[in-house]
Symmetry: C2
DNA sequence: CCATTAGATTGATGATTGTCAATCTATATT
DNA sequence: AATATAGATTGACAATCATCAATCTAATGG
């Protein structure tokens, strides 16, 4: 079922040639990153580098599963703006959306956050 | 000694009211973030969310200590551009610069990266 | 079938950002 | 003092981004 960030052109997984929970690359503190590695990580970090999206993400994580209508209020943003942010987060593979009836239910993709932590020099 | 990112107007530490290695906040996956928390984290993530800066950071981490002149070549960017990026990373508290003679020596601030990892849902 | 509701899409606008040429500052060397 | 070198600063420009009003799509309820 097609929803939000899932309308990407290619058939690639969330974003970048790997599954969200695959190992990928060593921490950036271990060895100089390649241009490709840095491009991929930067694209995920760009999705995270916004106050509204960080709070959105934390709400989704806290609620376990949330529809967009539960986000507009707490975040104080318009419906199109929320839709925009959920789309960016989904394209980055950080959340997943599932359409059920009128609502889209968003859930966290914890492995994706774990990948970021690891590449950021995770222990 | 005044160098690069250190020219900020206030007397605050690296960026945000805390020292780089202080505890601050629980992971974003534990509870909804406040607007202030998300602003602070987003500002660090914004500094990280660029391919050139990620590679710059990984080179500094690998070398242990590097002058700007060792960055222009590997990163393929002009001198002002490198200076711009080191400044942003320093303002975010992710690297520290020390002027010695003609050179500025950059070092990683690992606690700052650790803080980001923890807030990103670190174990 | 019509009205309502959730949310995605489009288009426009103001703000931010990455980049570099040109310039400036400070240090080192002769 | 004159020259050279490392790097910071300024100014400009194109590209990207966050935001929202307006519109469109799809599903629900009468």
């Amino acid at each position: 079922m097609i929803v939000n960030g899932t309308k990407r052109s290619t058939t690639r997984s969330p974003a970048g040639g790997r599954g969200a929970n695959e190992l990928c690359c060593p921490p950036l503190t271990d060895a100089p990153m390649s241009a490709q590695e840095s491009d991929e990580l930067a694209s995920i970090l760009t999705a995270l580098a916004d106050p509204v999206r960080l709070r959105l993400l934390s709400i989704v994580a806290a609620e376990g599963e949330t529809c967009s209508c539960n986000l507009e209020g707490p975040l104080g943003k318009s419906q199109p703006t929320i839709s925009h942010h959920t789309r960016l987060l989904a394209e980055a593979g950080l959340i997943r959306g599932e359409r059920r009836g009128k609502w889209t239910w968003w859930t966290l993709v914890p492995e994706r956050l774990a990948l970021v932590r690891r590449q950021l020099g995770g222990a």
